[in-house]
């Protein structure tokens, strides 16, 4: 009986050791990324196979971009807030609302232009193939993708629902 119990326990130990070993080595990248000061940038390094020099340069670009981005975010947020207040008080589009919409559109256009500049700078810092892949990825993930109205109206013209259009 002792021998049987020993063999059964050994099986459990082997299974546990196999699980732990593969899990530990399989998640080594995760631990490395989470231990970095900016895990999202560490992810960028891993995903786009950046060298240390490229990563250092992209980290600098990111650090330079972030404060400007924060200012623009605050500006857009303030404009949105003001627009909500004006909209709540008005029954039609006043000249003040019209001016704010124009100003907001200008701020958004500036913001988008800065974003595009940043994406292009980052992509130029990467190896060419990875740079292309990065641009395709940010295009898919950010405002550049333009999901919504354009596709919706194309679908309506073709007599399809947007879902059908994507199929």
């Amino acid at each position: 009986m002792k021998k049987s119990i020993l063999i059964l326990l050994l099986g459990c130990l082997l299974g546990g050791a196999g699980f732990s070993g593969f899990y530990y080595f399989g998640t080594a990248d995760c631990r490395w990324m989470m231990n970095e000061p900016q895990p999202e940038l560490a992810w960028l390094k891993k995903e786009f196979k950046l060298s240390d020099a490229e990563f250092a340069r992209i980290s600098q670009l990111h650090a330079a971009y972030m404060p400007q981005c924060a200012v623009r975010c605050q500006h857009i947020g303030a404009q949105n807030q003001k627009l909500r207040e004006l909209f709540a008080q008005s029954t039609n589009v006043t000249p003040e609302i019209q001016a704010l919409l124009t100003e907001r559109a200008k701020t958004r256009a500036d913001c988008e232009a800065e974003m595009m500049k940043h994406f292009l700078e980052v992509s130029r810092t990467m190896p060419p193939e990875e740079g292309k892949r990065y641009l395709a990825w940010v295009e898919e993930q950010t405002f550049l993708h333009g999901r919504g109205m354009g596709e919706r109206h194309r679908s309506e013209k073709a007599g399809q629902t947007p879902d059908e259009h994507h199929m």
């Binding site: 049987s4 699980f19 070993g21 899990y23 992810w43 981005c69 975010c73």
Partner: protein, 115 residues
């Protein structure tokens, strides 16, 4: 055919039986198997499920082939489960960090995330 042979036939049969010798070799571990059968036959029929299971395990597990197969299966299961769990965790973290990166550079995404 006479089903009840006389005493003289009985005597000759005894003689033949006394001279009869088995020279065929016994199968390997014959005695052990006989004792095992006897033990099994003497075992009380009201034994519970767990007792039976324990006995079966006790009989099966020490066999080298079974033990090797059992250990191999557990090792393969552990390794596969570990690899799958690591893959799931990595994919989840990759997805989270990629979204964090997008939110850090795209004010519209950041705005959506903060709502």
């Amino acid at each position: 055919m006479n089903p009840n042979p006389g005493p003289e036939n009985d005597e000759s049969l005894r003689k033949v039986l006394r001279q009869w010798a088995v020279d065929a070799p016994l199968p390997p571990r014959f005695q052990e198997q006989v004792w095992r059968r006897i033990a099994r036959a003497e075992a009380k029929p009201e034994q519970g499920f767990w007792t039976n299971l324990a006995k079966q395990v006790e009989a099966l597990v020490p066999r080298p082939r079974f033990a090797l197969a059992y250990l191999s299966v557990f090792l393969v299961l552990g390794v596969t489960a570990g690899a799958v769990a690591a893959q799931l965790k990595t994919s989840k973290l990759d997805s989270e960090l990629s979204q964090r990166y997008v939110q850090s550079i795209d004010p519209y995404k950041a705005d959506t995330a903060h709502r």
